[in-house]
Symmetry: D3
Subunit: 138 residues, 6 copies
Amino acid sequence: MMMKATGNISSTTPFLLPYTKTSDKMSIVSEFNDYRTKMNDKILGEDNKVLKRFFNLDTNAYKDGALDKKTKELLGLVASMVLRCDDCIRYHLGTCFELGVTKAEAYEVFAIANLVGGSICIPHTRRAVEYWEALEAE
Amino acid sequence: MMMKATGNISSTTPFLLPYTKTSDKMSIVSEFNDYRTKMNDKILGEDNKVLKRFFNLDTNAYKDGALDKKTKELLGLVASMVLRCDDCIRYHLGTCFELGVTKAEAYEVFAIANLVGGSICIPHTRRAVEYWEALEAE
Amino acid sequence: MMMKATGNISSTTPFLLPYTKTSDKMSIVSEFNDYRTKMNDKILGEDNKVLKRFFNLDTNAYKDGALDKKTKELLGLVASMVLRCDDCIRYHLGTCFELGVTKAEAYEVFAIANLVGGSICIPHTRRAVEYWEALEAE
Amino acid sequence: MMMKATGNISSTTPFLLPYTKTSDKMSIVSEFNDYRTKMNDKILGEDNKVLKRFFNLDTNAYKDGALDKKTKELLGLVASMVLRCDDCIRYHLGTCFELGVTKAEAYEVFAIANLVGGSICIPHTRRAVEYWEALEAE
Amino acid sequence: MMMKATGNISSTTPFLLPYTKTSDKMSIVSEFNDYRTKMNDKILGEDNKVLKRFFNLDTNAYKDGALDKKTKELLGLVASMVLRCDDCIRYHLGTCFELGVTKAEAYEVFAIANLVGGSICIPHTRRAVEYWEALEAE
Amino acid sequence: MMMKATGNISSTTPFLLPYTKTSDKMSIVSEFNDYRTKMNDKILGEDNKVLKRFFNLDTNAYKDGALDKKTKELLGLVASMVLRCDDCIRYHLGTCFELGVTKAEAYEVFAIANLVGGSICIPHTRRAVEYWEALEAE
């Protein structure tokens, strides 16, 4: 079944709220990762040294150092949440999950983010909770 | 017709611009409210006292006081718009609509938000106008 | 094939990440422009003089002056990216493309935006790159 | 007693926290207004039509309309506070005070701003409270 | 020597860049804390229940829980830095210092903040480094 | 005349609005540059590789490339203004001035910044204008 964006689907697509339905949650994680990898590859494939070095630096910043990796990922998560960047939240949630961060710990990060950043963080918290469930369901 | 996210749909979903098509507008409001309620219930279902109290406080802040409820909802709306939080805008538009705020009043809030917050508020104004029409169509 | 938002689609729509699949990219540009035009017309159709004048002023700001149009569009692009407004980025990418901005130039704007605005601009850069490809494919 | 910035004072000026000492509060209001007027005059004295029209539009947005002036100033105040612009807060506090907004009303605006914008609004609330006292003391 | 703000000083005050001179650094910490305490007392002295409960909640959020106090203060610090709130940074630096956070750890927080939030965080990093030195000098 | 921060001056310092008096303007530029250099040296003197590389990258991003240096500095300026970072604005104003940017060009950057970023950019525009005059007066 092939549908062009200008064809049937585009005239029937429901309101594109930035969340998914529960039944499809299992694929959220891989969809996010696939798109992220594909587009990052394109960006890094261009001859822009500043962007390449910036991406590289971004990866290095979260390695073990005076603070361990897990703490740094929690820092990345709270920073992403107060700056309200859903994709950044998803990325750090994924790494936190892999590093063994518990749900209770994640919720404490959400709580601090909401207090510091205000109720405008609530919609991002909703989507973060949904993504966390998807990570657990994988 | 059941489509898995990793199946047909995911390879044919059109560009997911954060807006809907006119024909489906009647459901924007309930879709937003349903998702909001479902996820808020999950968040409040967890044992995080800070988040619970924060959500509770958020509700109390908009009650009648020295300023009446309607004025407070207008304040919540303009704050949401300059901070560019679509879900927050939708929430306050819904409450404003219920409280009898007129279209002309809503537009004056949009105007102030655009002046204070700049042209980056325009895309949010477009989606706010669309949501307002959905509220009127219910 | 007609699907109501409250019907089948709404229960099967995959996670609505704010990006498209490669095969549908040709329509991103027109979809964005169509929605933008339609909603701007509605906004300008209302009797709110402040918003009308603000929209008008927004158009005038990018005309040739002490700085030429192309430089101004690059300014609009970098401002939109650090403020993380996808629709604003799309708009200025479209105008930049029409004015003959090259891919290498666009990437240098992305690089400055990422440095000034930080890694939270990366997801917007991904979507900007995708939109740029859609402009090239038109 | 004349002290040059590069002379004695500059080597002895204490930590310039963005607030005043209680004993000098009576002059906060006029100092702010004087600087604002002086610099606005310079900006408007230049031949930049976009800025001139923008400043003019900014003034018009707060006139009586579907919403009255007082409500609009409260909207300007809450927007300024969640966007954390001290000078904007001072300006709207001044106008609110002139329009008869009470302290209890101002505090309800602060409360909503803090909830929507988070604890990063607290330092701005402190300075707002100090400015309000200066307005009362005039 | 008493100087009124509207008198000599106000006509000779040097450019009030938001930083101090080295020789006065010992007092930065107490000046900040004194002002913070004084104004918080005023705010809490008013009869605004929402603000009171918000301030109280803000204190509770950083207590030991699933994450320990030190980690939470680091989260508060990075959130304050990406949101570019100097007073919030100062507050969390003070608490971090008391909890035994090392300089190397603080710098890793600064590094993540700069990467996530961009070069606009650099001026805040400068002032954070200056405040940290003042804490060490106490 | 030596005054300790905790001594006479601290009890007489006028309201520290973030701007200077006209008579002292000649020193704004050097004061800013001196503090910036001193603190950057401290930061780079620490053993934090991520921060060092980030600072280095920040310098490289504005070199001639597909876009020339002057255009890139204008991009840095507008990005700094919409993100409302006074120190970043000062830095880029300094470099723009050295590269021969005219006052009329600078004002067109200010105009775009105000439109995109809103009236919250006005106070930063005032201080930018003041700093520009200081650059001209050197």
